[in-house]
């Protein structure tokens, strides 16, 4: 009775058994499609949960040392940060990083961020605030924190100098050498060194270079320009040293020098990139920043 009234109302013909079978099959097919696509998309959580998608991120990345959720959520995966970086330090992650696909990272050993754009171009380029606009100067960034990982490999600790190309002739990484060109970074391979004692990690540290620049500017200023010096804002001049060579005595009576990481280190990775031994003596920890290390 109710069947009859329904058909009469809508003018619908009851489905033929063949049609019903087709609908049933379509329903099953569609369910499989839905489960397949959703299942594949949820696989993206695996690298994130396991922590294998953690990376050294560009300056200003919205993250805690071991929690990148906010950064992955806010990044729209467009790569505008990649495009503006003058040293091409920024790469985009691939499918193996799951939900981190298309998100920018830095492989410091291959090409570190040397802040040669000065103005944090990647931060300015970011359309979503995934690289937060709340920082203005390199000294404000918290990418990671350097650590002397293999002291025995360190040339300074061995009391050795360094002569030649820091990473050999085939290394493609570039750095800004201000005395060569203030605006154009050049290949590290084109800038051979001749050092009595290797101090590359200190010598090339962007924070240390900036501190030295500021000190020089201060010394050069005559009194009429003192007002300009006073106008410096925030961390335009890094307030703290990042790395220094300090003497140690290993008990063998010979005093040697070793690199010591200071509170001003932002984890840019230049020390890891420039360190001549393979693997490098100094590396960047991505799970620490100067804030977490110093409390």
């Amino acid at each position: 009775m109710s069947d009859k009234s329904k058909t009469a109302k809508k003018g619908k013909v009851p489905l033929s058994p063949k049609r019903r079978e087709q609908n049933r099959r379509e329903f099953i097919r569609t369910s499989v499609l839905a489960a397949g696509v959703m299942g594949f998309s949820l696989l993206g959580f695996i690298p994130v949960v396991q922590g294998t998608s953690l990376r050294l991120r560009p300056p200003g990345a919205l993250k805690e040392p071991l929690d990148e959720q906010k950064f992955l959520a806010s990044c729209i995966k467009c790569g505008q940060c990649v495009q503006v970086c003058p040293v091409e330090a920024i790469k985009l992650a691939d499918l193996d990083e799951g939900l981190g696909i298309g998100v920018p990272y830095i492989d410091a050993r291959a090409q570190a961020c040397d802040f040669s754009c000065d103005g944090l171009q990647c931060v300015l380029a970011c359309p979503t605030g995934a690289l937060t606009h709340e920082l203005d100067y390199p000294a404000d960034t918290r990418m990671g924190f350097a650590r002397l990982d293999r002291p025995k490999k360190c040339l300074a600790i061995q009391g050795k100098g360094f002569k030649g190309q820091a990473r050999g002739p085939d290394f493609t990484g570039i750095l800004r050498y201000q005395e060569i060109d203030r605006w154009k970074p050049i290949p590290v391979a084109d800038y051979p060194y001749d050092l009595e004692l290797c101090d590359l990690c200190v010598r090339q540290c962007p924070i240390e270079i900036r501190i030295a620049d500021c000190a020089k500017q201060d010394a050069d200023q005559d009194r009429t320009n003192q007002a300009l010096v006073a106008q410096r804002v925030g961390n335009e001049c890094p307030p703290l040293h990042a790395i220094a060579l300090e003497p140690i005595d290993n008990g063998d009576g010979v005093t040697r020098m070793q690199p010591v990481i200071k509170a001003g280190c932002v984890g840019c990775g230049v020390c890891e990139m420039i360190c001549p031994p393979e693997p490098p003596a100094i590396v960047i920890d991505i799970d620490k920043t100067t804030d977490t290390v110093r409390g």
Binding site: S41, A73, I76, G79, L92, D94, L95, G98, G102, T128
Partner: protein, 325 residues
Amino acid sequence: MSYFMESLAQLFGREPARPAPEEIAPEVQEIHRYKKKHKITLAELEAERQANREKGETSRWLKRRWAVLITVNLLFVVSYYFDVQLLEGALTASRFVGFHMADLNSALQVMLAFKHVVLNLIIGTVTVFVIWLLLGGRTFCSWVCPYHLLSEWGEKLHLWLLSKKVIKGYSFHRGVRTLFYVTFLVLTYATGYTIYEAISPTGILSRALIYGPGAALLWVGFLLLFEVFISRRAWCRYVCPIGMTYGMAGSLSPLRVVYSPDACLFGGDCRTVCLVPHVLDATIMGHARDTAVPIGADCTRCGMCVDICPASAMKFDIKGLSKVV
């Protein structure tokens, strides 16, 4: 149901309903009656098709569309490669000579996952929304999306294999796209991760073109194989939330294809080439309600029906403009 609601309901997966006789305008009923009585013969139809082909009109919009699609995607590549700041970024978000643009679906995901919106993203999203509102919404799909182009080539292969009876084509329920859409949005909000972005062939292809290929292309390749061997245009038809977002944006668009039953030969060619044939329901004899039927929101404005129609019954139209001009 109003045209607008009907068009949205179809976008969400409802099958188009045949109109009751009283819903059909009297002059259209007259056209249907006349055309039923004076049925065109198969030979006459074939002659019309041949004439259309000879005029070289069967790929007019296709050529324009491919040219636009390739140009837009190349602009991104060229901008980065030669460092001219013309169109920086990728399809998910970019800057066109400095102006922010953000893909509506990517921006929606970021807003839901991040739960915080910066001004630049609002500017980019509103700009892109207005552009596609004016240009037709899913126009993005067929005129810009790089996956659409690959998928079109895959479709040709699929149809060839079908004609050779090498494969059997399968269809799915179109409503599943709405299910995907809602599920992705809810999951994105709940987990705080932009889940769809990780599997979006549009984003993956755009980035691969600009920043170089990666393993993610394997996923795109898999999708293409699925479309070639199992289901015609499956991703665009049954899954992609980007198409859904742009479809909604374009539901009010003044730019659309309009169907005139008066000129129609009822050969059904338009429905065989269409990515979303349900929007062409009105072209079935007796289904048109009016003398000019605007095609619904799910239409990608690709122009394939305009190209193939031997009788110029399908035409691009800008609402209100034809009256003014």
